[in-house]
Amino acid sequence: MNVIEFTEITKVFRGKKGFIVNALKSMSLQVAKGEVFGFLGPNGAGKSTAIKILLGLIRSTAGSARIMGVDVNECSARLSVGYLPENPSFYDFLTGEEYLRFVGRSFGMDPSLLNSAGDRILRRLDLWEARKRPIRGYSKGMVQRLGLAQTLIHDPAVYILDEPMSGLDPIGRALVKEIIRELKELGKTVFFSTHITADVEAVCDRVGVINKGTLLTVDTVASILQRGVEGYVVQRFLPDGTTDRQLVPKSDLHTFIEQSIASRWSIERIEPKRKDIEAFFLDIVAVEQRHETQG
């Protein structure tokens, strides 16, 4: 069973004066249990729309979406979900601790369990000192961390994070990546959207690229990286201390190494030279745009 399942989801926004936006065009996508799935796309691509449909915040125009097999129109579909909205905002008259209590109680958590889990998570996200202060006084980074804390509080199976790294400093970003990796180890499913390719490379198993409401490709990160190898940088040295660095095409690597060894070179380092996810992403989007202008 897929944990998250979009089946031909279409969303049309009708604005005033007959203004129409096709936010999602018949998108189908499955995320399996235990996967960390990165939803990559430029701003306004339809990432948030897809996520809001999952959370029942907006209604799809056509198609269906399920979480753990439950239709997202049922509010019970959200029982197994921890959701972090984009640029989140929480009842700012509450303290961080009170807000976590409120979320925990909404999920029907046992009070004693809620207390212990709350304390642990506040410490984990470095909010322990601020827990008794109203959220009104929190910095942007603190609010983002509280947002992550409220997804963790009830220990759900599915995490849906909308731009979890935005608004965080490098330390915060590292913390988020670390937490996502921990969740993966625990066998949780994480679905997160981002427009920053480096995030995807760092933590994802699979990635989906979306632009202008269309899902362009879905692939594993490993395979993308493998496909992207263009050649190798080989660093070698001679016994007399002469060093040398050469770029070797992928197909020539074998012969180049043999030749080097024959010529008494010692191989110091071989580094793959490859396109990163960003280049991959830019390629896909560029291809799409070329198609459009041709079409």
Binding site: L57, C75, P85, F90, F93, E98
Partner: protein, 263 residues
């Protein structure tokens, strides 16, 4: 539900607007001295002033809390974080409504107690002609609260269809004024004084009379001020009316709110 109600009550108690409005309640302290200026009816005047002040405070509270509560949640994007929790939209809406209604009732009871105290003090200055009918006074305060709870239900209804706070705030104020006038207008157009009016206008007046809330039915001030005994019908009918009219508004609001998109 209890979770939602308590959170929303907390929101009200920590709100600055609420503190400001309660500051107005200090005027209650002045009532005994103002009332003593009246030559004949010290007690009657003190009841009048207390009930009017209480009504003004409840009106301010119901407009400021009822009309802005939902709007504020949407405007400050709290809805994303709250509505994505496993709760029905209707539960969210009803929880919020009950919290504000409870708060209003609580305020009315506290200020009602203050009113009783003020009236008791004033009656000490100058004994009233007729004995004070405490039961009518207390019922008058409660019915005043019921009236404003109906008004809050209207403000919720307006909030569910509107994206700005203009419609909720001004719509609520308009309903308040219309609700107080319906009975008079209805009486007028169906009196011989208005024989010349067009039948269309009369039908329209009747239509709005049955559609809009009838706040005159909740007005027991005369009974409280002049110690006129209340009839069972005069208390029971408006109460039953309240018990049906308010849920009716909230159900409509819930249906609209459930369809609303949180873009």
């Amino acid at each position: 539900m209890a979770n939602l109600i308590s959170i929303n009550l907390l929101a009200i108690f920590r709100d600055k607007v609420f503190h400001g409005i309660l500051a107005i309640a200090v005027i209650f302290l002045l009532i005994p001295s103002i009332s003593s200026l009246s030559m004949r009816q010290v007690t009657e005047l003190s009841i009048t002033l207390s009930l009017s002040l209480l009504s003004v405070i409840l009106l301010l509270l119901s407009v400021s809390l009822g009309a802005t509560s939902l709007w504020k949640d949407i405007e400050r994007r709290y809805t994303y974080s709250v509505l994505s929790l496993p709760m029905e939209r209707s539960a969210y809406l009803i929880g919020k409504f009950i919290a504000i209604a409870l708060f209003l009732l609580l305020t009315a009871l506290v200020l009602g107690a203050v009113t009783c105290l003020v009236v008791w003090l004033s009656s000490g200055i100058y004994p009233p002609e007729r004995p004070i009918l405490w039961s009518a006074l207390i019922l008058c305060v409660i019915f005043s609260a019921l009236k404003y709870i109906v008004l809050i239900a209207y403000s919720f209804l307006f909030s569910t269809v509107s994206t700005s706070f203009f419609l909720p705030v001004f719509g609520t104020i308009s309903v308040f004024m219309a609700g107080n006038a319906t009975q008079q207008v209805y009486d007028y157009v169906h009196s011989p004084a208005a024989k010349a009016l067009s039948p269309l206008l009369k039908h329209a007046a009747s239509f709005f009379y049955y559609l809009l809330p009838n706040f005159s039915a909740f007005d027991l001030q005369i009974n409280a001020i002049y110690a006129i005994p209340l009839s069972l019908k005069g208390v029971a009918l408006p109460f039953i009316y309240f018990c049906i009219y308010t849920p009716l508004l909230i159900v409509v609001a819930a249906i609209i709110f459930a369809r609303r998109e949180m873009k």
